[in-house]
Amino acid sequence: MKHLVRAALTGAVLSVAATAVSATECIAPANPGGGWDFTCRQIGKILYDIKQVDKPVQVTNMPGAGGGLAFNHVVTERNDDPDLIVAASSATTTRLAQNAYAGRKASDVRFVGAIGIDPGVIAVAADSPYKSLKDLVDAALADPSSVSFAGGSAVGGFDHLKPLMILKGAGLKDITKIKYIGVDGGADAVTQTVGGFTTAMTGDLSGIVGFLKSGDVRALAVLTEERVPGFEDIPTAREQGYDVVAGNWRGLYVPRGISDDDFHKWADRLRAVAESAEWKKAMADNGLAPFTMVGDDFQAYVDKLVAEIRQMSKDIGVIQ
């Protein structure tokens, strides 16, 4: 009995420790282990380390509906909480654009900013006959059903949209013919491609760094404006004649109902994190490229992204 009580107490203490209310809370709208979790934990740790907040930031994992549960929670229950930040990324804007948050809109919260971007990348197995993005696009133009992609997001998700944006720009009419399988994350997409089950993989640069070093995959293009520092030998899609820029930015949103002062306070704090040496190191270690856009500019950027992705999703038939 004593043991059971102790066990129960330990369980209770652990749970309380995991959800205790403290000064600042960062909600990661997913299980531990993903990009949102990384955003919360890194930004939270640095905020405390560089003394932007007094107490350690409490990270709460609130998985569900691809971030929809957390979004809904913030809008309906925490709308005026000035001590709440929520991890966001391109996946957030993609789902908002596709109306996957049960009618919630981007304007229901305030996007504070992004302080890093994971560049989009298209890669093939090292022994693939496709040597450049043009080879792959030409093959798809000649016979759309001969090319297949694996990516870490579900059908219609951001990874799926990346190759479609390139192919649509290249003049492919029926982009729905392009095969795509959504697997469990970028690394899994690599194994399917290296295994020869799909022609190419679409994902984030950070997910393939190890495989580039080991020589298992060849990156055909990064989807950035300039070549990525540290990966100068990978050409951009733009310089190969396909004007597509797509990256998975890492950032935060806060509740709509907080005061402008509080909003700007968060913008300043986020900027301080972006400029810290700790964040620069974390970015380098995790394959993120610098991309800082904080405050009102970022809100406009988010609105533009949502509109673009909505159009793209209509074109491929993911939404009506």
């Binding site: 995991a18 959800t19 531990p32 994992n61 569900g64 948050y101 469990d184 070093k213 995790n286």
Partner: protein, 501 residues
């Protein structure tokens, strides 16, 4: 002798009085977390990550703590399976089948010691396998595409019918219910929600932990209420705890075979510990034949899934470390921990950061030995839980279940769902329908469907794609044999009656 010098380096990194203390603490906490219904290895590790950071632990110490918790939880899951017929976490599911009947026969202590030894053997062999074969085995993941994965899951389902030997039709019905539940959520291949009723909480599907705790723990409470506290099936006989040397020796080969099966299942990304313990149990059951009494408290039926799931836990580290592909929920969390420590797993990890890899392997070995030494003497304490009157024990279990499930996603909806599963479990048990296949349906059904759908996308709907590789064909052949053989053997072999609660 690269291996030994590497290992020596690993122990040099991982072995100090401080890390040993962390290992002991981690193993203890892990065992408790594993034993509590609803809290499994993945949330155990997730909950403790902030602790590692706030203590300011360095990379090696954090790894030692987390791997101890991980292995500890894998050990701990069996305790509530055996004593209460409530799996502490999903890989411990199969242990209820023989562990609980053993406890009812008054052999709870034997079952706990035996499963502890089996866990040790499984985990130890898997760590050796990880050490020797990791870079080589990583290539196996490249051989498994959608068609091969589909055949693998099909193999698991083909043997499901034999799981509860009383009535195969009811087992089939139960696995269909599980498959149906697995369909709930956003469809990965169209992005459209299915069977969610527009409820955001159901978009990610039903968490199998909610289902397990509902079907087992909450249903148990309903039975207890129905019988006004008299006829609860909890309440097993107590006996003196001795080391069941004979059972351990007799299960020797079972442990070895199950470790191999579990390890291979763990190496395949996406399959994980649950499939490992399931396949080990089913293959041991068919090797032993119907006379071995699997399902009625056979010692080998306890040893097989425990060796299998602990070996799978070690196996799952192979794709995590060498490819960055987590093979299970817990390795996904460990992956997150590594990333936060700015260590990026991938094909070059073994050559780039040998101190991390070998430190990790050394800490796995340390955790394993600590767990064995800690678990066998602790059996006495665990068994004493059974002398607690059910009227006190069950409310405690209920409370822990609610806390555990709420901690998953901080959502009251999961609690309602859990109670719903409790009602379902109560009704099904009244109808004598086994609940284990439901959980397996939920666990494996989603993966199986995804593999099939991906295969069909890639092949333009050409079904012959499913038989397009030697691996797939071999798996199909085994699956078909596994499905058909029992039908012909049924009349030849005398079947034992399984205790149906």
């Amino acid at each position: 002798m690269d291996l030994l010098s590497n290992l020596a380096m690993g122990f040099g990194v991982a072995l100090s009085p401080f890390t040993l203390m962390l290992a002991v603490i981690g193993c203890f906490i892990g065992t408790i977390i594993g034993a509590l219904p609803g809290l499994g290895p993945s949330n155990g590790v997730a909950i403790l990550i902030p602790l590692a950071f706030s203590l300011g632990l360095d990379a090696t110490s954090s790894l030692v703590l987390m791997t101890s918790v991980y292995y500890g939880a894998m050990y701990g899951g069996r305790i509530s399976s055996i004593l209460l017929n409530i799996p502490g976490d999903e890989p411990a599911l199969m242990t209820t089948l023989d562990g609980y009947p053993m406890a009812k026969q008054g052999r709870a202590g034997d079952a706990l010691v035996l499963s502890g030894v089996a866990s040790f053997v499984g985990a130890f062999l898997a760590t050796i396998g990880l050490m020797r074969l990791a870079p080589l085995l990583a290539r196996v993941a490249f051989l498994f595409g959608p068609a091969e994965y589909f055949a693998l899951y099909l193999l698991a389902f083909a043997t499901l019918g034999g799981i509860a030997s009383n009535n195969q039709a009811k087992a089939a019905l139960a696995s269909c219910i599980g498959l149906g539940i697995a369909m709930i959520g956003v469809d990965n291949n169209s992005g459209l929600p299915r069977l969610t009723g527009g409820n955001l909480h159901l978009y990610d599907g039903v968490d199998f932990l909610v289902a397990i705790v509902g079907l087992f723990a909450v249903a148990e409470v309903f039975f207890f209420i129905e019988s006004h506290g008299k006829g609860s099936s909890i309440g097993v006989k107590l006996e003196k705890v001795t080391i069941p040397v004979r059972d351990i020796v007799e299960s020797g080969w079972t442990m070895l075979r199950s470790s191999a099966v579990g390890f291979v299942a763990g190496v395949l990304p996406g399959a994980g510990a649950s499939l490992g313990s399931f396949l080990s149990y089913m293959s041991e059951k068919s090797i032993a034949g119907e006379n071995a009494g699997f399902g009625t408290g056979a010692p080998r039926g306890v040893a097989a899934p425990e060796a299998g799931n602990n070996a799978a836990a070690g196996g799952a580290l192979v794709p995590m470390l060498t490819l960055g592909v987590p093979g299970s929920g817990t390795t996904a969390v460990l992956l997150a921990l590594l990333m936060t420590l700015n260590i990026t797993p991938g094909p070059t990890l073994f050559s780039d950061r040998p101190e991390v890899v070998w430190g990790l392997i050394a800490s796995l070995l340390i955790a394993n030995v600590v767990l064995l030494l800690m678990n066998v003497p602790m059996v006495r304490i665990f068994v004493r839980i059974l002398s607690v009157p059910p009227g006190v024990l069950l409310p405690g279990v209920t409370m822990v279940s609610f806390v555990g499930i709420y901690s998953l996603s901080s959502s009251y909806f999961d609690l309602l769902l859990m109670i719903g599963f409790g009602v379902l479990g109560f009704v099904l048990r009244k109808l004598d329908v086994p609940t284990v296949p439901i959980i397996l349906g939920i666990l494996l059904g989603g993966h199986m469907e995804n593999s099939l759908r991906r295969a069909m996308v890639l092949s333009d709907g050409d079904w012959t794609y499913l038989f397009s590789s030697p691996i797939a064909i071999a798996l199909w052949a085994v699956a078909i044999v596994g499905f058909i053989a029992p039908m012909f053997l049924r009349n030849v072999l005398k079947r034992p009656q399984r205790i149906t609660d």
